[in-house]
């Protein structure tokens, strides 16, 4: 690894180790996934019974619940960077971070990923236990490493979008509204609340044409139905979105730094 890469690796590791200092906190946070999955369990169990079919749009109840487990794990564990970045822009502390010997965005990414990995483990464990005990065993083990790779790619795409939202604070100062809307768009078009397979065909096409589906639906669907071809297609699509959104973010960052106005000191 290059010296530059080592620097961010060290930041990532420090943040990861930091997470181990608060295991109680992590456990308490994983209560959220239990709450959401418990509600989903009731909703989808009732729905499958009402429809009277073993499979809906190719997914069984067990598939749907394991899909939702991974989708919730991805979203609940991901780095929450929009507000952190926006806060740094708004209160001017970005000025102190800009003259440090690291790239501001890569620093935020390393910190965010360091936080997320442990949260991922705890959420997956808590959610997996609930789903495993109520609807049956998880999808085949060999698909898990492939899924993990696509989850990391999903987080990177999410980072580009979240950081872009955070950096709009250079212009708008308050980014909360954008953050909520992005979150809810992920809920629907990303497939967090309902797999895209249950959408009407036209909406499925719209969702697949946008990046949000590759931050949640793609990895979660691969998890319940692992397949080499699906993995390669997903990773290539994620790579294309990552390149496009990464360029947009870099451009906005460069422009934003030149607009930066610090009030007071």
């Amino acid at each position: 690894m290059s010296r530059r890469g080592l620097k961010y690796w060290a930041i990532f590791k420090t943040q990861l180790i930091n997470g181990f200092a608060y295991p109680g906190d992590l456990l308490a946070r994983s209560l959220s996934i239990i709450i959401f999955l418990w509600v989903f369990l009731f909703l989808w169990r009732t729905t499958y019974r009402a429809v009277g079919q073993e499979r809906i749009a190719g997914l069984s109840l067990r598939d749907t619940l394991w899909y939702l487990m991974l989708a919730e794990t991805i979203v609940l564990s991901k780095p929450r960077l929009s507000s952190t970045i926006a806060e740094a822009v708004r209160d001017g502390s970005i000025a102190y971070l800009l003259n440090k010997p690291y790239n501001f965005l890569l620093y935020q990414l390393s910190v965010g990923l360091g936080d997320s990995i442990l949260r991922l483990a705890f959420n997956a464990l808590a959610g997996g236990l609930l789903v495993g005990l109520t609807v049956g065993p998880p999808p085949p083990l060999w698909g898990w490493p492939l899924t993990l790779v696509t989850v990391i790619a999903a987080w990177l795409i999410d980072f580009c979008i979240a950081a872009t939202i955070g950096l709009t604070a250079f212009v708008t100062e308050d980014v909360a509204a954008f953050e909520w809307i992005y979150q809810k768009v992920t809920f629907i078009l990303g497939g967090l609340l309902i797999p895209l397979d249950f959408f009407p065909a036209w909406l499925q096409a719209v969702a697949q044409a946008l990046p949000f589906a590759y931050t949640v639906y793609g990895p979660a669907r691969l998890f319940v139905e692992p397949d080499g071809g699906r993995f390669v297609t997903l990773l290539l699509t994620q790579g294309a979105w990552l390149a496009a959104l990464g360029m947009l973010l870099a451009l906005l960052y460069r422009k934003g730094v030149t607009w930066l106005t610090i009030n007071g000191g």
């Binding site: 308490a28 959220s32 629907i188 309902i194 009407p200």
Partner: protein, 261 residues
């Protein structure tokens, strides 16, 4: 009582004037929250487009449920914005400021802050009610009564949970999870749950009294539903105030210098 009401009105006026100083931020939060809720509701539109109804609940029932929960939650956090921060105030010794003034501590603490996005929730709830199409005067009256009682249950439950900070020290995470669970469960059809789950939603986590029961009351008038709602709201409010007052006797400040801005 009249004195407290005048005091409340003065606090709300001050909060509104303060929000108007940052008008653009206020408007963006209100509109943002309305859009946010609309996108979230799209889940139910998609769901019922595919499955039509689940145990007697369809899109119309969901509209009324969202109307009641959005109005009660929105109004609650707009008028009593500190309800989400009681545990934090206790843990950080921020009650000193309220204790030193000749006004009811809990009321003063709750109404000292206003969450702008709550107004967006409130407006969104009104839109849902309008779209649900129950425009008769008696349905409007039931909607007002149901939403207000739902708001009392919501505020009381949060006061109860957050007051645990007097004994636990830090109850911020527990309160956040409890609020999260309360809202999540209140936004789903009650008929999905049975047995123990249903019992919990009517007792320990009273989400049914925030969503399903008041929504049912708006749909059809019934003395027994009204009585249940009134009983739940008054019982929880009494418990919440009593627990907060009891906890206040244990409160220890860190004597930090506080400035209320």
């Amino acid at each position: 009582m009249r004195r407290e009401l005048t005091f409340l009105l003065a606090l709300w006026k001050a909060n509104l004037l303060s929000a108007m100083e940052y008008r653009a931020a206020f408007i963006s939060q209100v509109i943002g929250m309305m859009l946010n809720n609309a996108v979230y509701f799209a889940f139910w539109v998609i769901f019922f487009d595919r499955f039509q109804e689940v145990r007697g609940w369809g899109l119309d029932e969901m509209l009324l449920l969202f109307a009641v929960v959005a109005v009660s939650f929105g109004l609650g956090v707009y008028l009593f914005g500190n309800v989400m921060r009681i545990a934090e105030a206790i843990a950080n010794g921020r009650l000193d400021y309220y204790l030193s003034l000749p006004r009811p501590v809990l009321l003063h603490l709750l109404a000292s802050r206003s969450i702008a996005s709550g107004f967006g929730d409130f407006l969104y709830g009104l839109i849902c009610f309008a779209v649900a199409g129950r425009w008769t005067p008696d349905a409007v009256a039931r909607f007002v009564v149901g939403s207000l009682l739902s708001m009392i249950v919501f505020l009381s439950f949060l006061i109860l949970v957050q007051s645990l900070a007097f004994w636990m020290g830090s109850a911020t995470l527990v309160s956040a999870q409890a609020a999260n669970a309360l809202l999540t469960f209140s936004l789903y059809p009650i008929t999905l749950f049975d047995g123990t789950a249903k019992f919990l939603l009517f007792t320990i986590l009273p989400a049914a009294f925030i969503g399903a029961v008041p929504a049912e009351f708006v749909r059809t008038f019934s003395w027994s539903t009204l009585a249940h709602l009134l009983l739940a709201a008054s019982l929880l409010l009494t418990l919440a105030v009593a627990l907060f007052q009891r906890g206040l006797r244990r409160y220890e400040s860190g004597s930090a210098i506080q400035v209320q801005v």
